[in-house]
Assembly symmetry: D2
Homo-oligomer: 349 residues x 4
Amino acid sequence: MNRKIEVGILGATGTVGQEFIAQLSDHPWFTVTWVGASERSAGKTYREATPWRLPVPRPDRVADMVVERVTPGQAPKLVFSGLDASVAGEVETAFAETGHVVVSNARNHRMDPLVPLVIPEVNADHLQLLAAQGTSKGWSGGIVTNPNCSTIMLAMALAPLRPFGLRQVIVSTLQAVSGGGYPGVASLDIVGNVVPIVRGEEEKMETETKKILGQATPAGAEPHPLVVSASTTRVPVINGHTELASVALETDPGQEALVRAMQEFSGRPQEADLPSAPPRPIVYMHEDDRPQPRLDADRDGGMAVCVGRLRPCPVLGYKFVTMGHNTVRGAAGAAVLNAELLKVDGALA
Amino acid sequence: MNRKIEVGILGATGTVGQEFIAQLSDHPWFTVTWVGASERSAGKTYREATPWRLPVPRPDRVADMVVERVTPGQAPKLVFSGLDASVAGEVETAFAETGHVVVSNARNHRMDPLVPLVIPEVNADHLQLLAAQGTSKGWSGGIVTNPNCSTIMLAMALAPLRPFGLRQVIVSTLQAVSGGGYPGVASLDIVGNVVPIVRGEEEKMETETKKILGQATPAGAEPHPLVVSASTTRVPVINGHTELASVALETDPGQEALVRAMQEFSGRPQEADLPSAPPRPIVYMHEDDRPQPRLDADRDGGMAVCVGRLRPCPVLGYKFVTMGHNTVRGAAGAAVLNAELLKVDGALA
Amino acid sequence: MNRKIEVGILGATGTVGQEFIAQLSDHPWFTVTWVGASERSAGKTYREATPWRLPVPRPDRVADMVVERVTPGQAPKLVFSGLDASVAGEVETAFAETGHVVVSNARNHRMDPLVPLVIPEVNADHLQLLAAQGTSKGWSGGIVTNPNCSTIMLAMALAPLRPFGLRQVIVSTLQAVSGGGYPGVASLDIVGNVVPIVRGEEEKMETETKKILGQATPAGAEPHPLVVSASTTRVPVINGHTELASVALETDPGQEALVRAMQEFSGRPQEADLPSAPPRPIVYMHEDDRPQPRLDADRDGGMAVCVGRLRPCPVLGYKFVTMGHNTVRGAAGAAVLNAELLKVDGALA
Amino acid sequence: MNRKIEVGILGATGTVGQEFIAQLSDHPWFTVTWVGASERSAGKTYREATPWRLPVPRPDRVADMVVERVTPGQAPKLVFSGLDASVAGEVETAFAETGHVVVSNARNHRMDPLVPLVIPEVNADHLQLLAAQGTSKGWSGGIVTNPNCSTIMLAMALAPLRPFGLRQVIVSTLQAVSGGGYPGVASLDIVGNVVPIVRGEEEKMETETKKILGQATPAGAEPHPLVVSASTTRVPVINGHTELASVALETDPGQEALVRAMQEFSGRPQEADLPSAPPRPIVYMHEDDRPQPRLDADRDGGMAVCVGRLRPCPVLGYKFVTMGHNTVRGAAGAAVLNAELLKVDGALA
């Protein structure tokens, strides 16, 4: 590759926007040349506008950029959106209408049947929905989304089990506070405590999982018939969502075959050797006390989903633990991988 | 009551033993007159022998007692056992054989069909098994146990649902570190982290729940046919186990009726106005972010079980959150309530 | 006492206001009959207006009260102020001008030479400044303040050392998150972390300590010549500020005499047996790993200051650890004790 | 460099030993070819013998090695010691006597006047003491030590201030739990809590700092006349010791000059471009809420010491915050840097 592709960040000053800056700081294919944020930040340098909260230093090159308003026009064709849901819907549509390819982490367009909701290892073929965006919506650009941070860890672990017939899943989450943004969760609510709800998250897990595991058709995405029941909690962990899942399958290939299916699972990112792809999408851990957020969330740059404790569930059939880095694999890294997929599969031409 | 009943504590220096001392320090019916522990502590004063780890001061009266070896003989008839499982089996049997009534928190005898495993609000009638201990085992005393700390929060929440036919439960736990004793869980394992297993706990929840909800028969306890699947985790919380449960019932009385059944649930401790009984065994909380360990574990002196978020589960039928104080309702307080039940129901005569 | 004194709460819905409601719920002398808050809450019931965040249930009696605007008039003569510093200055003055006695936890008037800044055990005599408020300011009521939460733990520990000539103190704090109010400190900043500043707190400790330990004169409070240097941090603790102090004295009575001075320290609240007074203002702990927030912050209902590890400091002379409950002894409980002092010493007549 | 230098690890299975394995896994100069541990582990593979607790995967190459007993003989000339203090003294001496160069993190030999206690940026010249070990002790090898994890963060920050005459320091620490090894600090002691002592640590800081900043003479190390007073605490942080220091200097060059001295500070590792050397030993941070363990402990691979908030101290002159990664810069990384220094300065010949 001779020249890097210029990209913009919508919502660059927020928590997810900062993650985009960090993820893209040394990216071999993409280079951030445009940062957009709200009225309040526009006109300031990125340094002034952003209370940087990541444990890696803010890249100097970006720090000196002037923040623009999040309106189409000057921005590069490819933009990443870390916008807040309160504005993402309209802003992303405006960019798509004017020829931009929006790779979004926001929830607003995820459940639109014509918008691909993609985990590249699981449903790379859903990108075909982009074509319908042009014909049905008249957009000259398009929108591709990644799932909610909790959905990704579950959907990735379920994907290798699809051949055995996914029927039902009951999942409980123990979610990290970084998922709530900044300032987000109040320390008084979470130091030495558990909050037994993450508002809005259960609905997302119950619907997004079905869309991702479903089929892309010319008329739009058709959800998988799987039934999902989610219970979500917040725990005093910085990064790494842990999820306890029980699953009912149509056929029982035996415990070892299921573990093997997870270990051998691979997809388009691994095949195409995408820069952000982990060697294996799922790292299966045999120690009975793993995965753990502190020890395993950063595995493969935070892009691996770690699974362990696959064993019989007396009620549904099997149960296991799945865990991954919620702001990398579950947010900014997920979007970057989507953009890499777009590039190799021609959608950025 | 003119005179208090003298009681002894087996394993008085350990974590549960300390809780017994604290729970009994101002008890209206019982007074600690004997403290027993291992060889290593015997002969020392309780003050010397015990690294006191509770946020309430160590009662001076007990602090000055000399610790005895945990052998029957000098101990009062009624003894509470906070012994470690590595020794509890034999020691408790020795006490029961020699006429002591052992109210135990240890796991060793819990699943013996002739040993009552009791939550007084749920299965007070199981005390009838004590009679069979004399005839079958030849004990002149007896053993009564309380469940594992995780089992209690689940079994209490399920009890009011029994009339609707309990069929299946899938439960995920987020357990406090005090459940692991002292020193117990290493801080490196749990600060800002989740450990996705509490070893041995899943089996206990899956079997003890069935025994408690089952029937006492002349031949021993007969487990309830309910199928339980448990996934357990440890979280950085000091006190208060949070559990997320999905339940399948034979009949569906509707969400409101289930909440009402929980709110109106009551049992022998409330009827007999036992000193340690909470006004209601279950405090149902309507706020969607409750119960929480920090805010609710101490409710009613730590003896209430707090339930919230009862709502439909797309897979099994209903789901809810249950939470309670693991070292009070889940351990020492549970045993004290058992002893109070024994007293009013004649078994201490 | 035949009838309780009616009291009002300014800023009743906030964090400190909630603490006032909790502290006063069973008070033998005072009864809350009026709750005031901002425009936004006025007209609602206290239940509706307040996201209750305390581990004790909200008293039903207060929950049903209608919240008033914080303007003088209908409020009882005695009011407690938990107002935010952004409004406390003007509102408290308005109440004092119109005959109310304002017992305030806000910082705004603390350093006014005519406003008593009182720890009842340390400088009860500073209440004499109230008289000058009438003559100099023309207030028909008055304002009494308590110190910042960090100042109290230090000033209380220093008070018994006054006879030996306080010259210099260097203090480092490890402050609990409840001191930051709600939502206050973001969880991302503090879970598994330390923030090496609590903004504004170092200045308060360095000036308030001198005023409290100083003299009340007809012309106003005259600060103690002691020099104080404070470094403040926030740590992931819910309640209980820990402080490490080194102190230079004019005379050296020896380590034992200093410990004895702390243990024997007592003041007007103990003498008058005020309802909120701890038996001893300072609990000196001999174990080398105490005091600790988790084990000791609730000592004597949170009103004791716990001190330990008094030992030589190679640089200044002596060093020790002081710790207390920041929202009880350090805020609402401090104000309630001030009000009790006002009552017994005639200032409420 | 054509071939890597073979090194051994004494105490390879413990916490510090694991850090050595991790630090050396891709080292350009050194390669681990020998792992030694106690009787209990000897004969097992490193994989079997070690409960790996680091967030990076255990290197496969080392995992397959067989653990040897920690006796000299087969081990390479250069060995790193992560031995527990209970055995380090004798074992390290045995290795030094038999020709090994021991680069130790253990405390046992640190205060021996003939053993260099080295922070390469601060007192690289102390390596000259090695010569005296041969003549005075008759060792054919030698021992070099690095300071206690708390000492390093302080001594590094003080080193640039030496030109201004160091007279007195009062320091308070907030230490991470990883400093206590595994299992180390009990979670019940530290979740949501502070422990106001780290036993033994205050003495180490008060003596080691003086030795490091002192002079190496033919007769041994001569401590700096600086007086140090340390107060230590443990806080619920995984990695990163935060320290609050006040310092008295002989001359006052002004605040800016002190900051500049820290920023410009550099030493032998930077000059020789040692592989583990950070670009600058001290990263001075201008934001008033930095450094923080979560955000800054990993700076420059955990080898930078981060300093901030340098400002006047009303008692001693100046105060500041210093923070660094306790198991990297404060332990294994410190020893590796010492070994790199030994290599370039000829002592490994």
